[in-house]
C-alpha cells in the first residue's frame, strides 16, 4: 500500500489516500483500506487547487474558453464529502474517499477527486456515506394532503424526521417525491409510480374483468403492430379501434408502467404470477406474505415483492399447502430471483412512544430481513436501489454513481445496525438535515464539535481491508506529482 501522507494544518488538500481511477472501482466490488491517516486540518477554504481536468467541459479545453468557464464555475455549487467511507449501494466500499457533488448531481467520487475552490466541504472523519433511502410507501411526510404541488409543507416535522431516518425520497400517494426540505419546487421525481390493480381470488368477478382487459389490450396491441407493419406498404391501412380497450392495461403491456397488486395469500400470488406470464408484464406485489412458499413461481414470473419482513400471520386453516408468514420470506424470495423491497409495518412517522415499526426505523425492518437470511447487500438494496427500480427512478437515485442525483446520507456506523444515526442527509447536493442542528437526536451520542476529531485514524488493520488490486491502480504515476504540486500550492499561501 502506498504510504499515505499525514496532512496537517489549514490548506490540507482533500485528495487523501492513494489515487485510484474511479472507473476501475465502480465496476467492481472493492473494499479499500487506507492506512492510518491523521486528519487535523480543519478546512479547505484557503486551498486553491489546480483546476482538475475532470471539471473541464470537454469543449472548454482550449485556453480561450478559460474566461467563460470560470464564470460558469462561479455559479456551480459544489459539495464535497471528504474522508468518508463510501458505500455505493452496489457493493463497493471506498474507505477514506471523497465524494464531490456538483449542482445536485454526483460529479465524482473516489481517491482521485480534487475539491474546487468555494466548495462546501464536510469532513466525515471516517463516517459512512450511503445513498439516501427510499420509502416506496409513505404518509404524512410532506405535510398537507396528497396534492404535492399545492400542499407541501417544506418544513414539516415529519419530513425532518424522515430525513433523520435516512429517507430522501418517498412515495406520496402515487407520486415519487424528494424530501427536499426547505423547497417547494423540484420535489417530484415521477408522477405515476404504479398502476394499482386488484386481482384476488376472493373477487372472481374482478379477476374476470382484469383478465378481459388484458386480453383486449393484448389483442389491440397485436392488431396495432400488424397495422404498423401494413402501413409501410399500404397507406390506407386501417388503424385498429381502441374502443373498449382499457388504457391502463395497454400501458402496462407496453411496459410504460408497472402494475401493483396488494396480495398475500399463496393462491392470489400464484394467480398474479400466472396472469403476468400469460400477458407478459412484470408485476409488483405488495405484502407477498406467503411468497416464500412459491418463490420459484414468482421468480419465473418476474415479480418484484414489497415486503414487511416482520409480518406475522398464521396460515388459513383451510389451506392444505404450507402457508402463513415466515421470517425467511424476503430471503427465500431473493434466492429465487424475486427483487425484494422492504417497507416497515407503518408507513408514517410515529412519536407516540412505541418505536421500531415505522418509517423512522426503515433500516431496522431491513435488519429483520437479514435475520431471515437475506444477504446484507440485498437488504441495503431493498431500501435503496431496488426501491428505486420498482419506482422506475433508478436512473436518478438509489445508488452512488456518477451522474446520479446527489441524494446521500452520512451515518456514524453500519446503516443496518440499531445504534446507527444519520448525521447528515443530503438531497440534490444540499444538506437538508444535520443531526446536531436539530433538537430531536442531537443529545444522543453527540457528534464531536468537528467531525475532524483530532488524530482521527482510519484503521486498516481489519481483515481484508487492503485490496491488492486497489493498490495496483493506486500506482498511477501522475498522482504523486499532483500531490506534490498541491502541497507546494498550499505552502505558497
Amino acid at each position: 500500500m502506498k504510504q499515505l501522507q499525514s496532512i496537517e494544518g489549514p490548506g490540507a488538500p482533500a485528495g487523501l489516500a492513494g489515487r485510484i481511477s474511479f472507473l476501475g472501482l465502480a465496476s467492481s466490488v472493492l473494499l479499500l483500506g487506507a492506512s492510518a491517516i491523521s486528519l487535523t486540518g480543519p478546512a479547505l477554504a484557503s486551498y486553491s487547487p489546480p483546476t482538475p481536468a475532470a471539471f473541464q467541459d470537454e469543449e472548454d479545453d482550449s485556453e480561450d474558453a478559460e474566461e467563460g468557464k470560470k464564470e460558469e464555475e462561479e455559479d456551480d455549487k459544489f459539495l464535497a464529502l471528504v474522508g468518508g467511507e463510501i458505500h455505493t449501494g452496489l457493493g463497493g466500499v471506498l474507505r477514506n474517499a471523497t465524494l464531490l457533488a456538483k449542482n445536485g448531481k454526483i460529479h465524482s467520487f473516489g481517491y482521485d477527486v480534487d475539491v474546487p475552490e468555494g466548495a462546501e466541504v464536510v469532513d466525515l472523519g471516517g463516517m459512512r456515506v450511503y445513498p439516501g433511502l427510499i420509502a416506496v410507501s409513505s404518509s404524512g411526510l410532506f405535510g398537507g394532503g396528497g396534492d404535492l404541488a399545492n400542499s407541501v409543507d417544506p418544513y414539516s416535522q415529519n419530513m425532518t424526521l424522515a430525513l433523520a431516518a435516512g429517507i430522501t425520497t418517498a412515495v406520496n400517494g402515487n407520486t415519487v417525491a424528494k424530501l427536499k426540505r426547505g423547497h417547494v419546487k423540484g420535489l417530484v421525481v415521477k408522477e405515476d409510480a404504479f398502476e394499482s390493480l386488484s386481482y384476488s381470488n376472493g373477487n372472481p368477478q374482478g379477476q374476470l374483468k382484469v383478465n378481459e382487459n388484458f386480453q383486449r389490450a393484448s389483442e389491440y396491441l397485436r392488431e396495432y403492430r400488424a397495422y404498423e407493419e401494413e402501413k409501410r406498404s399500404n397507406k390506407d391501412a386501417k388503424e385498429p379501434s381502441r374502443k373498449g380497450v382499457d388504457d391502463k392495461s395497454v400501458s402496462i403491456l407496453r411496459g410504460e408502467i408497472r402494475p401493483r397488486f396488494a396480495a398475500n395469500s399463496r393462491t392470489d400470488l400464484m394467480e398474479i404470477a400466472e396472469l403476468a406470464q400469460r400477458f407478459g408484464f412484470r408485476p409488483i406485489v405488495e405484502g407477498a406474505r406467503e411468497g416464500w412458499t412459491i418463490a420459484d413461481h414468482l421468480g419465473r414470473a418476474g415479480v418484484t415483492a414489497i415486503v414487511t419482513p416482520r409480518t406475522r400471520r398464521g396460515k388459513d386453516e383451510r389451506q392444505v399447502a404450507e402457508g402463513g408468514s415466515s421470517i425467511e420470506n424476503a430471503a427465500k424470495l431473493y434466492q429465487h430471483g424475486v427483487p425484494v423491497v422492504v417497507v416497515p409495518a407503518s408507513n408514517g412517522i410515529s412519536l407516540g412512544g412505541i418505536v421500531g415499526q415505522d418509517l423512522l426505523h426503515l433500516p431496522i425492518e431491513a435488519g429483520f430481513a437479514i435475520r431471515g437470511g437475506l444477504p446484507e447487500q440485498a437488504a441495503l438494496e431493498s431500501i435503496t436501489l431496488e426501491a428505486a427500480r420498482v419506482l422506475g427512478v433508478d436512473y436518478r437515485i438509489g445508488s452512488i454513481e456518477v451522474g446520479k442525483d446527489a441524494d446521500l446520507i452520512v451515518t456514524d456506523g453500519d446503516l443496518l445496525h440499531y445504534q446507527t444515526f444519520v448525521q447528515w442527509a443530503i438531497v440534490d447536493g444540499e444538506i437538508v438535515y444535520d443531526k446536531q442542528e436539530e433538537m430531536f437526536f442531537a443529545h444522543i451520542r453527540p457528534r464531536p464539535e468537528s467531525a475532524l476529531a483530532p488524530e482521527k485514524t482510519v484503521d486498516a488493520g481489519e481483515e481484508g481491508a487492503i485490496d491488492p488490486e486497489g493498490e495496483e491502480e493506486d500506482g498511477d504515476g501522475d498522482d504523486d506529482d499532483e500531490d506534490e504540486d498541491e502541497d507546494e500550492d498550499s505552502e505558497d499561501k
Binding site: Q157, E328, G352, I354, I364, G367, Y418, F421
Partner: protein
C-alpha cells in the same frame, strides 16, 4: 389437607404428593409454593401448626427440575442435559453470563449442564468436560440465558380484564392460561423463556399474575409460581371504568384496598407466629400474604411522573409492599433518584421514547424539547435496575430484544452489556426468581439460548432453546418460527 409446611425438605417431599396444579412452584423452587393460601392449592382446612414460611428460592441446591415427560405421554428417554439424562457440555464463542454486578461475558467458554442445572461455566481452558458428557459446539455463535418478560398478556385466552370492582386483588390470570400457545411459542423462539402473565389494566387492581415457562405446553410444567404478582394500575386505563374515576379517588381507593390487604396479611402473620384465634379467610386478600412475605410482588402499570411518584410514596414507602415498575415510560425516568435510593426495579416498555408533547414537538418555541429515550433517562438519573418489557401483544412478545435495541438506540449506554442484563437477570431479580434463572451461573436452572450474535440486534436469531436443560426449540429439527 394441610399445606402449611415447616421446612423446605418436607416441602420437597410433599410436592410429589400434591395435586399437579400445586407442583409448579414447588418443583421449580424447591417447595417454596406451599404458601398457605394464595396459590391454587389453597388450604381451606384448619391450619393449626404455625407455618414457618421458607424464604423464597434462596437455596440453589433445592432446585428440582420436573421430570421431562409431558403429562399423559409416556416418558421419552432423557437426553443430555435433561433431568435424569447424561451431562451436556455446550461450547460457545461467547457466553453472555449476564451476572448481576459480575462478569458479563466469557469468551470461548463452556457450560456444563446436568439434570437441568448449570453445573459449571467458564473459559474452555478452565472447565474440564467429563468424558461421558455429550458435547454441543455452537461454533462462532453465542450462548445466553433465557429471556424474562414481566409484562405479558399473551399466555392465555385474554379473559383477564374483568372490570368488576375498581380493585380486584382476588382475580387470577392463572385461570386463563393456555400453556405453550402459538404466540407464547413464537416469543419463546425469540428467546423469551419466562413470562409473567398478568391481568390487564382496566381497573386499579386487575388481579394476580402467574409466572410461566413458555417452552412447555402443559400447565404443570409451565407454571413457575402462582401468584406471580399482583397487577396494580395506578392511572390511565382505569379512568375508563364505570364511574370514570379520577386520580385522587383512584389513589385513595387503591390505598384503601392495599391497606386492608396488608392488615389482613399481618393478622395471619401474627396468628402463625403466636397462635390465637384463627383469622377468617378472605379470598380477596389472600394475595397479600404472599406479597408481605415477599413471595410475590406488585407489578405496577405506572407511568408519568406524578403517577409513578405515588407508586414510590404510597405503595413502597407508606405500605412497604414489594413493588416494581412495569411500564415506567413517558417521563417517569425523572424520578430516577428516588427509584434508585429504594432499589426499585424499573421494567420499562412498551414505549421506548418520550416526546414531551406527545407527537407535537414545540420545536419553534423557546423551550425546545427532545426525543428522550426512556431507559436512557433512567440510566442518566443513576438507576441501575433497568429492564425491558413489551406489554405483549402491544409489542409482539418476540420483539422484546428489539425493545432493548431501541433503548440503546435512543441513548442507553450498553458498553457494560446492561441491555442484556435488562432482558435477563434484572427482570429475574424483580420477580424474585434470580436464584434460579436470569443468568448463567452455577446452580441455576439451564434456561439457555443458542443465538447467532448480539441479542439486541434484529439480525441475530435464536437457533436453539433449552429449558431446564431440555431442548424445547431447535431450528435444525423444526420449522423456524422467528
Amino acid at each position: 389437607m394441610r399445606h402449611s409446611i415447616p421446612t423446605q425438605s418436607f416441602a420437597r417431599s410433599l410436592t410429589r404428593a400434591l395435586p399437579a396444579a400445586c407442583v409448579g412452584l414447588a418443583a421449580l423452587l424447591g417447595g417454596a409454593s406451599t404458601l398457605a393460601s394464595p396459590g391454587p392449592c389453597v388450604g381451606e382446612g384448619d391450619s393449626t401448626a404455625p407455618a414457618k414460611r421458607p424464604i423464597l428460592n434462596r437455596d440453589p441446591n433445592a432446585l428440582a427440575p420436573r421430570p421431562p415427560a409431558r403429562s399423559g405421554a409416556p416418558a421419552a428417554a432423557p437426553v443430555a442435559g435433561m433431568q435424569g439424562g447424561p451431562g451436556l457440555a455446550i461450547k460457545a464463542k461467547k457466553i453472555l453470563t449476564a451476572e448481576w454486578q459480575g462478569r458479563s461475558v466469557v469468551n470461548n467458554g463452556v457450560v456444563l449442564v446436568k439434570d437441568g442445572i448449570i453445573e459449571a461455566v467458564g473459559p474452555a481452558s478452565d472447565v474440564k468436560i467429563p468424558s461421558n458428557y455429550e458435547i454441543q459446539d455452537l461454533g462462532d455463535d453465542w450462548l445466553m440465558p433465557g429471556i424474562v418478560e414481566l409484562h405479558c398478556h399473551i399466555a392465555g385466552a385474554f379473559g383477564l380484564n374483568d372490570t368488576v370492582y375498581l380493585t380486584n386483588p382476588g382475580l387470577r390470570a392463572s385461570s386463563d392460561v393456555i400453556p405453550g400457545n402459538e404466540a407464547l411459542r413464537l416469543g419463546m423462539a425469540a428467546g423469551v423463556t419466562t413470562v409473567l402473565y398478568i391481568p390487564g389494566s382496566g381497573t386499579n387492581i386487575g388481579g394476580q399474575g402467574i409466572l410461566l415457562r413458555s417452552g412447555f405446553d402443559t400447565f404443570e410444567r409451565a407454571e413457575i409460581r402462582t401468584p406471580g404478582s399482583m397487577k396494580l394500575a395506578q392511572a390511565g386505563n382505569p379512568e375508563r371504568w364505570t364511574t370514570r374515576p379520577n386520580r385522587s379517588f383512584m389513589n385513595w381507593n387503591t390505598r384503601n384496598t392495599l391497606r386492608r390487604g396488608k392488615t389482613y396479611a399481618d393478622k395471619w402473620t401474627e396468628y402463625e407466629k403466636n397462635g390465637g384465634e384463627r383469622p377468617e379467610i378472605n379470598p380477596q386478600f389472600e394475595i397479600f400474604r404472599a406479597l408481605m412475605a415477599n413471595m410475590a410482588q406488585i407489578s405496577t402499570h405506572t407511568q408519568i411522573y406524578q403517577v409513578a411518584l405515588k407508586t414510590i410514596t404510597d405503595v413502597h414507602d407508606e405500605l412497604g409492599i414489594p413493588v416494581f415498575i412495569d411500564h415506567g415510560t413517558f417521563d417517569t425516568w425523572r424520578l430516577g433518584k428516588l427509584i434508585e435510593e429504594r432499589e426499585i426495579f424499573a421494567i420499562v416498555g412498551p414505549r421506548a421514547i418520550d416526546v414531551p408533547t406527545r407527537g407535537f414537538i414545540n420545536w419553534s418555541g423557546s423551550n425546545p424539547e427532545r426525543i428522550q429515550g426512556c431507559v436512557a433517562g433512567y440510566q442518566e438519573m443513576g438507576v441501575t435496575r433497568i429492564g425491558f418489557n413489551t406489554d405483549s401483544p402491544v409489542i409482539p412478545q418476540e420483539e422484546l430484544q428489539l425493545q432493548a435495541a431501541m433503548g440503546v438506540r435512543y441513548g442507553f449506554d450498553n458498553s457494560k452489556m446492561d441491555a442484556v442484563r435488562g432482558l435477563t437477570i434484572v427482570p429475574a431479580m424483580a420477580c424474585g426468581l434470580d436464584q434460579s434463572i436470569g443468568s448463567i451461573e452455577v446452580g441455576k436452572i439451564a434456561d439457555l439460548l443458542w443465538i447467532t450474535g448480539d441479542p439486541a440486534d434484529p439480525r441475530s436469531f435464536v437457533k436453539e432453546v433449552w429449558q431446564s436443560g431440555e431442548v424445547v426449540y431447535d431450528i435444525s429439527e423444526e420449522k423456524r418460527l422467528w
